[in-house]
């Protein structure tokens, strides 16, 4: 008894003993299990030219068709892009762009005619695109208060510190606070179809359904006040510095006003890369068989509010149809074809290697 308790102490490295007299009772023989003896059944792949050959060919054979499929799909997507920055003196928006800054309150309008060579079937998505606009800047990305946007009254009155220095003006909270909201894109784009007969038909643009459903219904919420009037709810807050209108006047539709304005929501989803597009409107497919946007001449009318010249940014309007894999982007198809071909090629190389040198081992091995 005593001896055993003493040896319990030994385990702690006080005094280690395993004399031959130590344990006739306690057999220390290790268990003969596959795990303990490190003999678990195992698959032991050996990477040689011979063994990996099939993998390369299979990858090649799978990838090339996928790539071709993707490429074709992407090519079937129609896309039209028009740059209306107005850098050029020849550009219709040159004048607007030249003397425009954030401080202007009066909007400047310019019209840009363009022509579609192909008819656009199905729904057409209308994007605005910005280039050289670093929406992914670290401090910019952080400069928002999600809690405020989620309708939290407290955050509305006292925005998070992250919003600084766009959190308050004269001790009045800004709603919505932060740099992202402050710099919201505020050009208005309108599209007119120039009928061959000379009339200009405005094309109906749907402004809902452009944001993520979860954003619109879960993430973004208007603060719920005592009354349902948004104006009353936002009483005591300031509009962001660069905004022309307060947040509760973004739209007339109460379902698309305030924080749940979809243009706002879309803007608040910061883009990943400095060149990006954001969904602006959807041109719904008409019920009849006619194409959504028939071939012909169109006019884009821009309320030029958004200055980009200071950072050499560009503004674009994009019309695009989409497929199951998103917008037009041939890259993935090409990538698949390339990787597939490379695999195939390497497979051939390995085949050669295998034939030339692989047998050497095998003969050495198998000859026995």
């Amino acid at each position: 008894m005593m001896a055993s308790s003493y040896s319990a102490k030994d385990e702690d490295g006080h005094i280690t003993v395993s004399g031959p007299g130590g344990g006739t009772l306690r057999n220390k023989k290790p268990e003969n299990t596959a795990f303990k003896q490190q003999r678990l059944p195992a698959w032991q792949p050996i990477l040689t030219a011979g063994t990996v050959l099939p993998a390369f060919f299979i990858i090649g054979l799978i990838f090339i068709p996928i790539g071709i499929g993707l490429y074709v799909t992407s090519n079937n997507i129609k896309e039209f892009e028009i740059d209306y920055t107005g850098d050029d003196a020849s550009s219709p928006c040159y004048n607007c762009a030249k003397n425009f800054s954030w401080n202007n309150t009066k909007s400047c309008t310019c019209t840009i005619p363009f022509q579609l060579d192909q008819p656009y079937e199905s729904n057409v998505f209308m994007y605005y695109g910005l280039s050289n606009f670093y929406q992914n800047h670290r401090r910019y990305v952080k400069s928002r208060d999600d809690s405020q946007l989620n309708g939290n009254i407290d955050s509305l009155k006292k925005p998070s510190k992250e919003c600084e220095p766009y959190a308050s003006i004269d001790n009045k909270p800004i709603a919505p606070c932060g740099a992202i909201a402050n710099s919201m894109f505020n050009d208005t784009l309108k599209l007119f179809y120039n009928d061959p007969n000379g009339t200009s038909v405005p094309i109906p643009l749907t402004s809902t359904g452009i944001a993520w459903w979860t954003d619109k219904h879960v993430k973004f919420r208007n603060p719920v006040g005592t009354n349902s009037n948004l104006t009353a709810v936002f009483q005591g807050t300031m509009k962001p510095v660069n905004w022309h209108r307060p947040v509760y006047e973004l739209d007339t539709d109460p379902e698309n006003n305030g924080f749940i304005n979809e243009d706002f929501i879309v803007w608040m989803r910061t883009a990943a890369l400095p060149t990006f597009r954001k969904l602006y409107r959807i041109i719904q497919k008409k019920n009849n068989m006619a194409p959504t946007l028939p071939r012909g001449n169109y006019t884009l009318v821009v309320d030029y509010n958004y200055p980009v010249r200071s950072f050499e940014g560009r503004k674009r309007m994009i019309l695009s149809t989409i497929s199951w894999m998103g917008g037009k982007n041939p890259f993935l198809g090409i990538a698949y074809i390339t990787v597939g071909s490379v695999c195939f090629f390497l497979g051939v190389v390995l085949l050669v290697i295998h034939h030339k040198y692989g047998n050497r081992n095998n003969s050495a091995n198998i000859s026995n």
């Binding site: 005593m2 308790s5 003493y6 030994d10 385990e11 702690d12 490295g13 006080h14 395993s18 004399g19 031959p20 007299g21 006739t24 057999n27 023989k29 290790p30 490190q38 059944p41 032991q44 792949p45 050996i46 990477l47 040689t48 030219a49 063994t51 390369f56 990838f63 606009f133 670093y134 929406q135 992914n136 800047h137 670290r138 910019y140 990305v141 999600d146 809690s147 510190k161 989803r269 883009a271 990943a272 890369l273 060149t275 990006f276 954001k278 200071s310 950072f311 199951w324 894999m325 998103g326 890259f331 993935l332 990787v339 695999c343 047998n359 081992n361 003969s363 050495a364 091995n365 026995n368």
Partner: protein
């Protein structure tokens, strides 16, 4: 942990701290202990012992309160932790923060808390065991109750009287004051302290010795003064001051140490001297050792590089950000947010801020979890090593112990092994083999035959017989030189089938037989001649005694014989016990006065000369311990011989009965002996196995030791019956004197006789120079001469030699000596030195009786282990204290030296001589091996053949360059070694030593051993392993990179100092070749993978900086960023790091060459780190840009784009691990599946949990949405494949075009078992076959002409400088063959080391047609066995590319100038004759004393 210093001890007795400090100076030298009972009433303040630590032990590090601060403080000693905390804190600075500060703390807190919990648990365990120990009971005398009362251990204080009963454990260091034993002895077992299981005797303090009545604590009023607590177990000095003022010295024999167990003694009483943490046991108790492995050192270098990379990346980003800001000028864009205060930051300021931000963002590059993961993996590795059945020794029921937990991977990187000989290579189980008495040799042929029979018995148990190494040597003992040819073929055969399972089985059977005091060692078949003489002699003596004739009339040769056996029997410290009750001391007591202690006593007792052999008054204290030692069991197990001994014993008994009449011993006593004999034979417990072997040997001649008491030794002689020798003194063995002596009074002649036993070199010098005048003197001279001759023979046969001598003292001489000896004994200052001098005075002018040859059997599998370790490219040095001849012969027996190779022997007598010798040998080596480039190099390129390039010049720290290792053996003796280790010569010594294949240092002291290891380690920058079993190896074990202790016969000191403790030497093979290799390759791969993984992940964010204005933004959600390492990708690598096996254990053991992989750090070379980094950057580029282009100019938002990248990175990283994983068990699959599942589960939950939290990413519903997009899946499909394509392709090509040996080993693994066996056997046979193409040397040979020319020039000019040689070698190293010319066949081809380890190469028919007649039959036989495989061989040759083949053939031609068949000759004359050009060295060599060792530097 344990408190070591006095300061700590002082702290423990904290309360009266102020007064304490005052007293301290006074306390410095000694400690004074009063009995507590005198001060019982005055509790506390008045008690003089109050300052001493009490017996409560506390080994815990923490208390409840101190845990947190103390543990954190300790953890912050690790630099990495400080770094991570720094980064986490940096996050709290608003300008630079990258993550949510709280979140950034998470990983650090996680890591810290994991470690803290581990520490807490360990501490809790310690606390529990402390508590358990503190609450053990013991009996303490209580003044109040006037009896001993039970108290807890922790209540014991210094100065308490405690009573101990048999089998109790001592609670503190106790001074023995009384013992129930009539001899006033107390036996203790110190296994817990030093692992020695034999009983040790402790004596009652002398002043209490004569106490008749029971010790009464109340009467005690002495004061003890002794040393301060220290950790030296073998030292205790002090004195006890009685009230009378008398002082008595105290020795270590009086002290019972805490932790020992009382045995054989009914009751003992003592006073506590040291308690608790001040006990010697506690002071000795060090925590586990912490070493840093080579791999970890290398890793730290790369961690450092990571830091550099990190800083460079941050700097780059900072500059980029500054420029980006600058380009906008004063026109600040809307997205460039102002500082919170609304001020505008200048580009420079924001660049500086950004630099700090980037450090936070990129912190993952320094793998935070790496350190924790490595620890986890190492613990698992240690667990698996522990669990290995092959490393378990049934005999001792012990398995390998890993005492150092963090250097497992070092085992796979060893380059030099330094081994002790005795007990490490050999069993340290001595078998008496031969002896010479009075110049006549008794060869004990029958005994030799019997031993051979044991051998056969073992070998018959398996069909194919033979035991590689030990057999030839054993036989050579019996049948000298003639048997050698036959033996050779035998051992070749045995070689071919080493490593089989049958062998392992046989080994285990054998080990049962060879258990200590197995019949093999105990039963010695006496040499009939000698037995006759002994009988003759003793009967004559009996006759003479009967007729009261003086014994001196006995013929001197006969008296020598009887004296020889008396010396064998009594000149030792063997304790006799009976086997059934191993701890029961056999006692028969003759009434004797106590030994002489004073001069008066001496005069009184020695004047009347009469036969003293009084009546018996033995007290039989039959304390039976419940321990049944397995020694007893083993002797019962071995039935056949046990029976024979039993019958022998019966005979003895009956003859004893006859003699009874003549015996002076009363019959009453005899009954008792027969009782003890009936119980079984007597068992001898010796401190050293030699002693036991000699006692058993003497018993075979019926001279048996019957009992030993402190003052007398009883032995039984044929015809004479039991004789009691009064033991006057025992001068114990020590390593400086190398001898021990006993001074006894001979009962028959009544003379005072000194029997001395010791190393031959010492004893021979002490022999009284015979006066050549008379015939007696001539005879004596002849005896000495002959004995020396036989001694040399014994040594040549690898036997340990001991000389036995005696000396008869006249009473005057004795009195004179005794006076000074007693003075020495009682001295307090310098007692050891005085005793030593006293012993020297006594041991002079001895009369030589004879010499013994004891065989120290090689351990099982030693030659095989050495052979395969050497094939593994390990240099093995043997450092031994044995004499040169013995060591050389053992070295031959264990295949360390090869009869084929030349032997350089360095024996010098002076510094200059040594310098000259080294110079000459260096010249010789250069002249011989470097001048004829075509020849010997190919042969001698032992370790440097291409795939196994040992000293890789590319390894970071290693300055060492490939150095030719020749077919040379170096033997150096201790004295020369001392000179060679001098600063001025060490470089030369190393230059010589490293070019020799094996090095043998004889007669080396422990210090020299450690110096050699240190020298090699520091100068050659190699990994060293030291293995040993005894206390003399401790320093060497501690110095080496990895110290291995053999938990064998010689106690546990080596084990305590070691990092790994093995039960047997042969386990080293599996430990190094298999576990070492695995641990190394696992960890190396894991570390590389870690670096890769983090770099790859961080690089993703780095690329992104180019697209976010270098603003430090990350597209990866900070949660993923922080937990990616810690959770998502953590498990698979742990599993792979723990379980991956590149090659199976069998193949690793059969192809030791694969070990070179670790030695060269081939799994983890510095360039690999960079290759991995490049690969990581490539992969991250792919993982970044495929999504980039796929989402270019789309409406994707930051984190919806970042999440697929995270996913892709995870897939890529896991797939990468997959390509690197060699074995896929279900655990690998599970872990990978778990990782992926974990990521998606966490992502889905996280993305669904809170719509407005987790600023700034706010990833609500992101993953859910992604999973609905086909694009996501398309990306997941293509990216990992594109990312891993190059690596995968490279691996495939490498596997075919230039597979590493390890890969070949894996291919071999895949083959069916029988084919594999075929190939492996082929690889062995090929060694001897001349056909094998030596492909590995191809490019070397091509390059050699130029290289050699250069070298020659250099070596002429700079031969005085060792280092110059190295630079030459450095030049050569790039010429090492590239991997491209090796393939499977290389692996099986000649590894020239194999050529070397098998000494039979040259006997085989070589193309040059050089055949040796003696071995012709032999090689014929060999050839036949090769034949079938030869065919394969040639086919394998033809399948190699043509040019390679041509070169190979050319190279395999034997060297023209190479010396053929060099042989080590034992005959010194021959050696001199065949001396080479360097005989000048011999001239300068001063002659050594011993004629046969004189031939010093000889190259034959």
């Amino acid at each position: 942990m344990a408190r070591h210093s006095e300061e700590d001890a002082g702290m423990a007795k904290a309360p009266p701290a102020a007064r304490q400090r005052k007293k301290k100076p006074k306390e410095i030298k000694t400690r004074t202990v009063h009995a507590n009972i005198l001060h019982d009433c005055a509790k506390g303040a008045e008690n003089p012992n109050r300052h001493y630590a009490n017996n409560k032990i506390k080994t815990t590090k923490y208390t409840v309160l101190s845990f947190l601060p103390k543990n954190l403080f300790e953890q912050f000693h690790r630099f990495a932790n400080v770094y991570f905390v720094f980064i986490a804190l940096l996050n709290f600075v608003p300008v630079v923060n990258a993550f949510q500060p709280e979140l950034a703390l998470a990983p650090v807190v996680f890591i810290l808390s994991v470690t803290a919990i581990k520490d807490l648990w360990e501490d809790y365990r310690r606390h529990r065991s402390d508590k358990e120990i503190n609450h053990m009971d013991c009996l303490v005398y209580s003044r109040a109750e006037r009896r001993y009362v039970e108290k807890y251990w922790k209540e014991v204080r210094v100065g308490d009287f405690i009573r101990l009963r048999c089998n109790e454990i001592l609670p503190a260091d106790v001074l023995l004051l009384s013992s129930s034993d009539p001899d006033r002895l107390c036996h203790i077992e110190t296994a817990t302290l030093d692992g020695e299981t034999n009983l040790k005797q402790r004596q009652v303090v002398r002043s209490f010795y004569d106490l008749d009545c029971e010790f009464d604590p109340l009467k005690y009023n002495s004061i003890i003064e002794c040393e301060k607590p220290n950790n030296d177990l073998n030292r205790f000095r002090g004195y006890i001051i009685h009230r009378s003022g008398r002082r008595d010295a105290l020795y270590k024999e009086n002290l019972l140490l805490r932790g020992c167990t009382i045995r054989n003694t009914e009751e003992a009483v003592g006073i506590v001297i040291y308690a608790g943490h001040e006990t010697k046991a506690m002071l000795n108790n060090n925590g586990p050792r912490y070493k840093r492995s080579k791999l970890e050192r290398q890793m730290n270098v790369d961690v450092f590089w990571c830091v550099i990379i990190l800083l460079v990346m941050c700097l780059f980003a900072a500059v980029g950000h500054g420029l980006w800001m600058f380009q906008y000028g004063d026109n600040r864009p809307v997205f460039d947010v102002l500082s919170p205060e609304g001020t505008i930051l200048s580009p420079i300021m924001s660049a500086i801020y950004l630099f700090l931000t980037m450090i936070i963002v990129f912190q993952v590059l320094i793998p935070i979890s790496l350190f924790v993961s490595i620890e986890i993996v190492k613990i698992c590795q240690v667990y698996f090593i522990h669990q290995d059945m092959d490393l378990y020794d049934e005999e001792t029921d012990s398995h390998l112990q890993c005492r150092a937990l963090n250097i497992t991977e070092d085992l796979g990187q060893m380059q030099y092994i330094f081994s002790d000989k005795t007990g490490t290579l050999t069993e340290n189980k001595m078998v008496f083999r031969r002896c010479t008495v009075a110049g006549v040799e008794y060869s004990h042929d029958a005994n030799a035959r019997r031993l051979a029979m044991y051998q056969e018995m073992d070998s018959e148990e398996e069909e194919c017989m033979s035991h590689g190494g030990t057999l030839p040597r054993r036989d050579s003992v019996t049948s000298h030189q003639s048997a050698r040819v036959v033996l050779r073929s035998q051992s070749t055969k045995s070689h071919r089938r080493t490593g089989s399972r049958a062998e392992a089985k046989r080994a285990s059977i054998l080990s049962k037989h060879t258990a200590f005091s197995s019949p093999m060692e105990k039963d010695i078949t006496p040499d009939p001649k000698l037995l006759d003489k002994v009988n003759d002699c003793s009967s004559q003596m009996d006759f003479m005694r009967f007729h009261s004739q003086p014994m001196s009339q006995l013929p001197s040769d006969l008296s020598d014989i009887i004296d020889f056996f008396i010396a064998l029997t009594i000149c030792n410290t063997v304790v006799v016990s009976s086997p059934n009750q191993p701890r029961h001391k056999v006692r028969m007591r003759f009434e004797l006065k106590s030994p002489v202690k004073t001069i008066e006593d001496f005069i009184k007792r020695f004047t009347p000369s009469r036969l003293t052999s009084g009546s018996n008054s033995s007290s039989s204290s039959s304390l039976i311990t419940n321990r049944s030692s397995n020694k007893g069991c083993s002797s019962l197990l071995s039935s056949p011989s046990a029976e024979s001994t039993l019958t022998k014993l019966h005979e003895e008994q009956s003859s004893g009965g006859l003699e009874q009449a003549f015996s002076p011993i009363p019959p009453s006593y005899d009954g008792k002996t027969s009782w003890s004999l009936e119980e079984g034979e007597l068992r001898y417990e010796a401190e050293s196995p030699d002693e036991a072997a000699l006692v058993y040997a003497a018993r075979a001649y019926k001279c048996s030791l019957v009992g030993r008491l402190p003052d007398q030794v009883i032995m039984e002689l044929p015809h004479l019956g039991k004789l009691s020798f009064e033991l006057l003194h025992t001068l114990g063995f020590d390593s400086t004197r190398k001898r021990m002596s006993v001074v006894v009074r001979h009962p028959l002649t009544d003379q005072i006789t000194v029997y001395t036993k010791g190393a031959d070199s010492v004893i021979m010098d002490l022999i009284k120079p015979p006066d050549t005048g008379n015939s007696k003197g001539k005879r004596q001279k002849k005896i000495v001469c002959r004995t020396q001759h036989y001694l040399n023979l014994y040594a040549a046969d690898g036997l340990r030699t001991l000389c036995i001598a005696k000396k008869i003292l006249s009473k005057e001489e004795y009195a004179c000596w005794l006076q000074r000896h007693l003075a020495a004994e009682t001295a307090i200052q310098g007692r050891e030195e005085l005793l030593f001098e006293s012993a020297l005075r006594l041991e002079t002018n001895l009369h030589l009786l004879g010499a013994t040859g004891i065989e120290d059997r090689l351990q099982d599998g030693v030659p095989e282990t050495i052979a395969s370790l050497r094939k593994a490219g390990l240099q093995i040095w043997v450092l031994t204290g044995d004499k040169q001849e013995t060591a050389v012969n053992i070295a031959y027996a264990c295949k360390l030296l090869d009869p084929e190779e030349e032997l350089l022997t360095l024996n010098a007598d002076s510094q200059e001589g040594c310098a000259l010798l080294l110079e000459e040998s260096l010249h010789y080596i250069q002249a011989k091996f470097l001048c004829n480039p075509s020849g010997p190099t190919t042969k001698s390129f032992n370790t440097n053949f291409s795939p196994f390039d040992i000293y890789s010049s590319s390894s970071p720290s290693s300055q060492s360059t490939p150095f030719l290792v020749h077919r040379l053996g170096l033997v150096i003796d201790g004295r020369t070694l001392a000179y060679a280790l001098d600063k001025s010569l060490e470089d030369k010594f190393l230059a010589v030593a490293r070019s020799c294949r094996s090095v043998l240092c004889c007669r080396s002291t422990p210090l020299q051993k450690s110096m050699v290891v240190k020298l090699v380690r520091n100068k050659l920058k190699v990994m060293t392993l030291a293995i040993g079993d005894g206390a003399n190896d401790v320093s060497m074990i501690q110095v080496a990179d990895v110290g291995v202790g053999i938990s064998g016969q010689e106690g546990m000191q080596a084990v305590m100092a070691s990092d790994f403790a093995l039960p047997r030497f042969r386990y080293l093979q599996k430990l190094l070749l298999v576990h070492g290799h695995w641990c190394y390759s696992r960890l190396a791969n894991m570390i590389l993978y870690f670096f890769y993984k983090n770099a790859m992940f961080v690089a993703l964010i780095f690329w992104y900086q180019f697209y976010c204005g270098f603003s430090g933004s990350a597209m990866i959600d900070q949660w993923y960023l922080i937990f990616f390492n810690l959770m998502f990708s953590a498990f698979p690598q742990l599993i792979t790091g723990t379980l991956d096996k590149d090659v199976s254990a069998e193949t690793l053991q059969q192809l030791p060459q694969l070990y070179v992989n670790g030695q060269n750090s081939e799994e983890y070379k510095p360039y690999m780190f960079w290759m991995n980094m490049i690969d990581a950057f490539y992969q991250s580029l792919v993982c970044f840009f495929i999504p980039y282009f796929a989402y270019a100019d789309s409406d994707v938002d930051l984190f919806t784009w970042g999440t697929p990248i995270t996913t892709l990175a995870l897939f890529t990283i896991l797939l990468h691990l997959g390509t690197e994983t060699k074995t896929w068990t279900w655990m690998n699959w599970m872990s990978i599946a778990f990782s992926i599942a974990l990521f998606f589960t966490v992502a889905l939950c996280y993305n669904a949990s809170c719509p407005a939290c987790y600023s700034p990413s706010n990833p609500y519903w992101t993953m859910q949405r992604l999973l609905q997009e086909p694009l996501f899946y398309l990306l997941c499909f293509i990216t990992p494949i594109a990312a891993l394509l190059p690596r995968f392709f490279y691996r495939a090509c490498q596997g075919t075009l230039f597979p590493s040996p390890v890969q070949l080993g894996r291919q071999l693994d895949k083959l069916p078992a029988d084919i594999r066996r075929n190939i492996l056997s082929l690889s062995r046979v090929k060694v001897g076959s001349p056909l094998c193409p030596k492909l590995p040397f191809l490019s070397l040979a091509k390059a050699s002409p130029k290289g050699y020319n250069k070298k020659d020039r250099r070596s002429v000019s700079g031969s005085k400088q060792g280092p110059l040689l190295q630079t030459d070698e450095a030049k050569r190293s790039p010429l090492q063959p590239t991997d491209s010319d090796m393939h499977l066949s290389d692996l099986y081809t000649p590894a020239p080391s194999e050529v070397d380890t098998l000494p039979y190469t040259k006997d085989n028919p070589a193309p040059s047609g050089e055949l040796q007649t003696s071995s012709a039959a032999d090689s014929e036989h060999l050839n036949k066995t090769i034949e079938p495989s030869d065919v394969n061989l040639s086919s394998c040759v033809t399948s190699t590319p043509l040019p390679a083949q041509a070169d190979g053939v050319q190279l395999s031609m034997p060297p023209d100038g190479a010396p053929q068949c060099v042989r080590y000759t034992r005959n010194s004359e021959e050696r001199l004759k065949s001396e080479h050009a360097v005989s000048s060295a011999h001239r300068t060599e001063p002659a050594t004393e011993r004629p046969l060792q004189a031939a010093s530097f000889s190259l034959n």
